[in-house]
């Protein structure tokens, strides 16, 4: 059972059909007004709880997917956009994980198979439909985070997970680096640990009795812990930076010294959420060369989502 992608492919057309842009709900990246827009098919076509997979159009709203999966006690690891949940295709094209990455893993592990339309209007299959697959090169991994530059997602097969039986957030007002590292060491596979230098928030998920026992145990070792209804509000932290997690202590301390703007970091992961755009990280020359070669192969005329810079700070070659 699959989605007929012929109309979608026809709307994209061959290389002589000019530049264009794929648009979902535009919760992550606004579409430029001067380009022809195309939209991916939407809708869930097959949900198999005992396979832990779901087949859906890339244009499917994430909220719809969450609602349907919740009915069978499952979820899919796709984050919201900046102004709303957005679509499946948008979340995959952006490839950014949410604050639960520490426990739930990265977005890139969610996609099993994608049928996409390439720069020349042809439908291409990448990956495979089963939860385990090493048949050929892992093209689907390359497509995640490619921001529409390597092809436009049409139909996706996603891996689902059981909803956690219990998900509880806590906050601590004492937040030294030592405390953060202790949380990472003593809590069994925390779902999220956030830190701003003044407070630390953490989330534990799983069996309710285990969560209660874990909190009881760590309360003895750690400063006062208060349960809260959910994570801190990150709506003002619109910019992100990726750093090795071992450097987060330095990042937080440096930020406190400069007092320039607020940040919240994902401890154990390495994402820094900023209120203003951070400085970009230099890109290795070899990485830039590989990107250029891949784009030459997959988007030789540059017609797919022109203007997107996959490597924001690449050196000139």
């Amino acid at each position: 059972m699959g989605i007929d992608l012929s109309n979608f492919a026809e709307s994209i057309g061959g290389v002589d059909h000019g530049p264009l842009w794929i648009a979902g709900q535009q919760t992550r990246t606004p579409a430029p007004s001067q380009l022809r827009l195309v939209a991916a098919p939407a809708g869930i076509v097959d949900l198999q709880p005992d396979e832990m997979t779901v087949v859906c159009g890339a244009g499917t709203p994430i909220i719809e997917l969450r609602t349907e999966l919740a009915k069978v006690g499952q979820y899919v690891n796709l984050p919201d956009g900046l102004t709303g949940p957005g679509t499946v295709g948008g979340a995959l094209a952006e490839g950014r994980s949410d604050i639960y990455r520490l426990g739930r893993g990265p977005v890139r592990d969610t996609l099993l198979q994608v049928r996409y339309v390439n720069h020349d209007g042809q439908v291409v299959t990448a990956g495979g439909p089963t939860v385990k697959n090493v048949s050929g090169f892992d093209l689907s991994r390359l497509l995640i985070g490619s921001r529409g530059q390597l092809g436009y997602f049409g139909e996706t097969i996603l891996r689902t997970r059981p909803l956690p039986q219990s998900s509880r957030w806590f906050v601590m007002s004492e937040a030294s680096q030592t405390v953060v590292e202790k949380i990472l060491r003593v809590i069994y596979r925390p779902a999220s640990v956030l830190w701003d230098g003044h407070k630390v928030w953490f989330c534990i998920e799983g069996n309710p009795k285990d969560c209660a026992a874990m909190i009881q145990r760590i309360s003895v070792e750690l400063p006062v812990i208060t349960e809260i209804s959910g994570p801190p509000d990150l709506s003002l932290y619109l910019h992100r930076q990726s750093v090795p997690p071992r450097l987060l202590g330095d990042v937080v301390q440096e930020n406190a010294r400069s007092d320039s703007h607020k940040i919240i970091v994902e401890a154990g992961v390495g994402i820094v959420h900023h209120q203003v755009p951070p400085e970009s990280t230099p890109i290795e020359k070899g990485v830039t060369i590989l990107h250029r070669r891949i784009l030459e192969q997959f988007n030789p005329t540059g017609r797919l989502n022109p203007g997107i810079e996959i490597l924001a700070s690449a050196p000139s070659l």
Partner: protein, 482 residues
Amino acid sequence: MRDKPQVQSLNTQLISRLRAALDVHRVHTASADIDLYKRDASNIEGRAGVVCFPLTTAEVQSVVSICAEFQQPFVARGSGTGLSGGATPLDGAVVISTAKMNRLISVDPVHRLAWIEPGMLNLDLTREVTHLGLHFAPDPSSQQSCTIGGNVANNSGGPHCLADGVTSSHILACEVVLSDGSVVMLGGEDPEPDGLDLRGAFIGSEGMFGITTKICVRLMQNYQAVSTILMDFTSVQAGAETVSSIIAWGMVPAALEMMDQLCLEAVEAYIQAGLPTDAAAALLVEVSGLPHAVTDDTERISEIGRAYGARTIRIAQDEAERALLWKGRKTAFGAIARIKPNYYLHDTVVPRRKLNEVLQEVYRIAQRHDLLVLNVFHAGDGNLHPLLIFDKRDPGIMERVHAAGEEIVRVSVEAGGVLSGEHGIGLEKRDFMPLMFGPHDLHAQASMRVAFDPLGIANPFKVLPSPSQCGDAHDMGEDMWV
């Protein structure tokens, strides 16, 4: 003492350059030495022209640069435990063994990552970090002897990858020597390096995108509780339905393995673990994590098993009993030697709900070709491992084995499955790729290869069937068979 006969096919100038780049003792050309490298653990033989043993990234870079200069194909090799011919050298290729690059470079126990060299053995890494309460999750059955560089090349799995994912989910970065001799870091300790996921694209590329020389692995916290359950059934169908029901209930066990009757008989004769040899199938289920979840899941899994007619439900009472049950699973391939001297192990994946249907077809295929088949596999993720056992001295047997194997692959793909779950494509399944992928799909994969290896000298002629391999440089040798 007379010199050993030398292989003449490789340019003597190339060999002298390699000797100058490493040293004479780490560049092997004598037939008796390089003959050991003519194949991996598959039955597919090729021919190595020379075997090099670099110790550092710079040495790998030198060897690869020389190969590029001479347009000479090279093949990276770890322990040679692969089962698809991925490390089989063709046409006298240069074999670059990473076996001597086996150091643990550093460990960060707080952020649970380690830097290692590619020749480190899978199980050695876990042994090195056990005292920190950590482990490396991918655990192929060959984990005592396979290298992590090989795991990266094949995106390897293992029984305990059901809950935590296969190798790609546990690799943060790879330092790679590309075919032109340049060195590049793919991925990083940071979670979202700018740009495309080149790390993810490289993992599972079977040595055709370059050679990894340093790897940053993600380590997992050890579980605090574990429960190992053995359930047996009077039909394969009941066992398969139990598997689907466990997953549909919302549980993802750490491992969910199935053995059929012939396998149970062979293993029991081998290790005397008290396995139910009169059962049609047995499930070995392991749940791990925190104590309450483990207790609750054990009870629920037992209930599901009973609902599907499990005759006995045996829960390991201590670590010794758990180890014995796992020994039964992991020594299955040794046990079959008591039945027949040779085996051909297949590796396909089917949707879980098709397990019984495909297994019944596998039995029919074996019967048609007058072969014995036993099944021991990762049922939780639908990863079948039909094991055809035979005596290769029997006339015409290999033709029947290959014919049956091809039918098993076709049946799996027709059931909505895939060609390989963990062994990779290599040479073994290269020509089956069109069963799963169309011309545009294969062209896209070939485009990836061209981007990473425009020279076409990194392990050419594997994975992609010939029309897709516009970048590959040489014809296949006459002395190999597929």
